[in-house]
Amino acid sequence: MEALRLYVRLVRVSMQARLQYRVDFVMGIFSVIALNAISLGMISIIVYRFVSLNGWNIWDLFFLYCLWLLGHSIYSLLFWHFWDLQEYVTQGTFDQFLLRPASIFIQFIGREVQYIGFADASVAVVGLGLAYINLGLHWGVKEWLFFPLVVLSGAVIETTLVLMTACISFWTGRSDMAIDAIMSFNFLVQNYPIDIFGTWFRVIVTSLIPVAFMNYYPALMLLGKSDPQSHWQWLGYMSPVVAIILIAITSVVWHFALRRYSSAGG
C-alpha cells in the first residue's frame, strides 16, 4: 500500500514536469494522432481495393489495431522509459535508485511518464467505437466484462516483455537492438492478422514473444470469428493467464538483474 502511494506520487511529479512544456505537449499529441491516422489510412487503402485481407474486413482490422493500441496506450503513458534502462545502467544514473530508502522498482517505474499515451488511447477508443458500430456487434455481459481484462493484459504483456528485454543491459550494456526486435514483431501483430504470416510466425508470437495475446486471440473471440488455422478457440481467453505468467517471470529476471548490477561509475 505504501508502495502504491509512493508510485502515484512519483507519477504525479513526473506528469507535472512534462506539462511544463505546453507546446511540446500539443505537438506530441498531434503527431501521435496523425501517425495513427496514417497507419489506419494505409490499412483502409489496402482493404478498400481488396475488400478484405484473408477474411478480415476494414472494421475487423480497425478493431484489431485499436485493441492493441488501447493496451499499448497504458504502456506508452507509464512505462515508455523502459527503453532508457540501458542509458541508466551504462551511465550510472541507476545508482540514485539504490541510494534512496524506497523500493528500487517503484522508483524506476515512476521515474517518467509520456503523455503520448493519451493520444494513443483516444485514437483507440474512437477506432474501437467505430468498429463496434459498423460491425453491428452486440456484446453480452461476458464480453463487456472480459474486454477491460484484455486491455489490461495487453498492457501487462507489452510492459513485461519490454522490461525483461531491457534487463539484458545489466549483462551486456546494450538492449536497444533486442527491444527493436521484439517491437518489430509487435508492430506486425498490431497491423495485420497473424494468420497471413504462416506457422513459424504464429508460433513465435504465441509462445516466445506472446504479443498475439494483446489483440489477435482475444479479437477472434470478441468479434465472434473463427481461426482459419487452429481450433483452439480457448486461446481467446488466455490473455490474463499469459499476463500473470509474464509478471512472474519478469520479477525473477528483475531480481537476478539487480544482483548483477555494478555501478558504471566505479
Binding site: D24, A34, I38, I45, F50, V51, S184, I196, F197
Partner: protein
C-alpha cells in the same frame, strides 16, 4: 570535393561503429520484407485483377520499399536540432565546408551504412522471396539515377525541417508524423496507383513520391519510356525547388541563430 568525402567517410565510420548491429539489422529488414511479401501474396490470390501489374512485380515493389527503409538512417534534422539546443552548432559553422554541403556529406555517409545492409538483405530476398531483377540494364541504370534523385529530394526535405528546428526548438515529435507522411505519400508500402482517386491526386502533386514510388515503379517496369521520363522530370523539378528553398531557409535560420547567440 575532397573535404566533402572526408566528412562522408567520417559519418560512415561513426554510424557503423556505434549504432550498428549488422546481423540483427539484416534479420529485422528481412522480417519486414517477409511481412509485406505475405500481404501482397494473399491479396493477389484474392483478386489478381485489381493490381494492374503481375504478382512478381508487386512483391518486388513491396520488398524494395522495405529495403529503402535505409533512407531514414540519416536524420540531419535531428542532428541540427541537437546542435542548436546544445550550442555546439557554432563548431559546425566554423568547418571549412558550406553547412548545407556538410550536412549532405554526413547524410550520404549515414545512408551508405544503410546501403551496406540493404544490398545483402535484397540478395537474400532475391533467393528466398523471389524478387525480380529489373527487366534490362537500361532500366536498372535509370532506377539508380532516379533513386539518387529521390535520396536528394528527401535529404532536402529533412534539411528544411532542420532549418525549422532553429526557430521551433523541439522537432522530435513532429518528426514522427513527418516520417509517416513521407512513407504514406511516398508510396513506400502501397503504390500510388492503388490509392483512391482524391488521395492519389494529392500524393501525385507532393514531392514525397520522388523518394519511393518513382524509382521503385521504374525498377519493376511499371514506368517506361515517356512515362519514366516525365517522372524523372518531376523529381528534377522538385529537387531544384527544394535546393533553392533550402538555401533561402538556411540563410534565414542562420541569421536568427546569430541573433539568439547574442
Amino acid at each position: 570535393m575532397k573535404i566533402f568525402w572526408s566528412f562522408t567517410r567520417q559519418a560512415f565510420q561513426f554510424v557503423s561503429v556505434y549504432r550498428f548491429n549488422f546481423f540483427a539489422e539484416i534479420f529485422l529488414t528481412l522480417l519486414r520484407m517477409y511481412a509485406i511479401y505475405c500481404v501482397w501474396r494473399i491479396l493477389y490470390t484474392q483478386r489478381p485483377g485489381a493490381f494492374s501489374v503481375d504478382m512478381g512485380q508487386m512483391i518486388t515493389y513491396g520488398v524494395l520499399g522495405m529495403a529503402l527503409e535505409i533512407f531514414v538512417w540519416s536524420r540531419p534534422q535531428m542532428y541540427i536540432s541537437q546542435q542548436v539546443k546544445s550550442g555546439a552548432i557554432d563548431t559546425d559553422l566554423m568547418k571549412p565546408l558550406d553547412f548545407h554541403l556538410h550536412m549532405l556529406a554526413r547524410s550520404t555517409g549515414e545512408t551508405l551504412v544503410g546501403a551496406s545492409l540493404a544490398v545483402p538483405a535484397l540478395i537474400i530476398a532475391y533467393f528466398l522471396l523471389g524478387v525480380n531483377l529489373p527487366p534490362d540494364i537500361g532500366t536498372g541504370l535509370l532506377f539508380l539515377f532516379s533513386l539518387g534523385l529521390g535520396y536528394l529530394v528527401l535529404f532536402h526535405l529533412n534539411f528544411l525541417l532542420g532549418a525549422l528546428s532553429v526557430v521551433a526548438l523541439d522537432i522530435r515529435h513532429i518528426s514522427w508524423a513527418y516520417y509517416s507522411v513521407v512513407r504514406f505519400f511516398g508510396g513506400q508500402m502501397v503504390p500510388l496507383w492503388l490509392f483512391p482517386s482524391f488521395v492519389g491526386i494529392i500524393a501525385g502533386v507532393l514531392p514525397f513520391q520522388s523518394t519511393y514510388y518513382i524509382p521503385m515503379s521504374i525498377y519493376i517496369g511499371k514506368f517506361t519510356g515517356v512515362e519514366a521520363a516525365r517522372a524523372i522530370q518531376f523529381q528534377l523539378f522538385w529537387l531544384v525547388v527544394l535546393v533553392l528553398t533550402s538555401r533561402l531557409a538556411w540563410g534565414w535560420a542562420h541569421r536568427r541563430l546569430v541573433v539568439q547567440g547574442g
